[in-house]
């Protein structure tokens, strides 16, 4: 896929995470993923349709997921990835993807997004696209989030 398509998603993290209470947002490594890859344990996947088709998945460890939800809930301790924290992570992935969709729209690429689905497991094998996907790491104080992009124009 075209690596330039990753930019709106990275921008969305920098736009939104400070608003959600995060102090630290950094871009980490970029790598090309095998079509089928073993992912981190908590994955939020959002589908895209119209001029850009594919999926974007936000993958993180259980530990990062709990810390991420805790930051979103104003520092409330999160011991278990319960319904409320799952909902927080799902909502964040929805906001980030919607923000990226608006950036794409302003570039003349019209995109619709589906509601997020959370997949939680251990050693989960994931294929989000028929094409090779890109993984961009976003580093926050909650830990690393792998943004897995499998998009086609």
């Amino acid at each position: 896929m075209d690596a330039a398509l990753a930019t709106p998603f990275i921008k969305a993290f920098f736009d939104l995470l400070p608003q959600l209470g995060f102090q630290q947002v950094k871009r980490g490594n970029l790598r090309v993923s095998e079509k089928m890859a073993v992912s981190l344990d908590v994955i939020a996947v959002v589908g895209l349709s119209q001029q850009l088709r594919g999926n974007v998945a936000y993958a993180m460890s259980q530990e990062t997921a709990k810390k991420f939800a805790s930051v979103m809930m104003m520092g409330m301790p999160v011991e278990q990835l319960d319904e409320m924290s799952q909902s927080a992570i799902s909502e964040a992935s929805n906001m980030i993807t919607a923000n990226a969709a608006m950036t794409l729209e302003s570039q003349g690429i019209s995109v619709n997004i589906s509601p997020p689905t959370l997949v939680i497991g251990h050693g989960v094998k994931v294929r989000i696209s028929q094409v090779q996907s890109l993984i961009v790491e976003i580093v926050t104080e909650a830990g690393v989030i792998d943004v897995i992009l499998g998009l086609e124009r």
Partner: protein, 154 residues
């Protein structure tokens, strides 16, 4: 939107299993599904965009996915082949179902996103804020669950 939209999906599933795999299968009545449910180990997820966003999930065991792929293709299990076959089956069933829903509800403009596939033991799948219903399709190779959920009511 009519409450029995799920029947269009399950009818398409039964027809495709018959045509592609020569297999007789039966679908249960739709039942409401919890926000979080345990996967059988092999899940294909297709997003729905438009006026009523949602998602479709085909969920089965890795063994059933493999056996079904073998029956359809007449070849031994190759992981890539199993993934392609199950993704395509979900695509076809979702496409048929969504077309029927769109035709019955002018202006809904529902579109599908490409499939994503998740494989693993002890997977939990969560769809916050969606109202989902599920049918179990019983096939000679094992049960396949077809779940459809939309935002904001059924």
């Amino acid at each position: 939107m009519s409450a029995n939209y799920l029947e269009h999906f399950s009818a398409s599933m039964l027809q495709n299993l018959q045509e592609m795999a020569g297999m007789e299968a039966a679908a249960s009545q739709p039942t409401g599904q919890e926000t979080a449910f345990a996967s059988q180990g092999f899940s294909v997820i297709i997003g729905i965009t438009g006026k009523r966003p949602g998602r479709i999930i085909l969920d089965t065991t890795q063994a059933t996915a493999c056996a079904l792929s073998n029956t359809i293709n007449g070849e031994e299990c190759d992981e890539e082949f199993v993934l392609d076959t199950m993704a395509e089956l979900t695509n076809i069933v979702s496409g048929n179902g969504i077309t029927t829903v769109n035709n019955a509800n002018p202006g809904m403009g529902l579109m599908l996103t490409p499939p994503s596939i998740f494989i693993g033991n002890e997977l939990t799948i969560v769809s916050p804020k969606l109202n989902a219903e599920v049918v179990t399709v019983t096939t000679p190779l094992g049960p396949i669950n077809l779940s459809i959920g939309f935002e904001g009511g059924k």
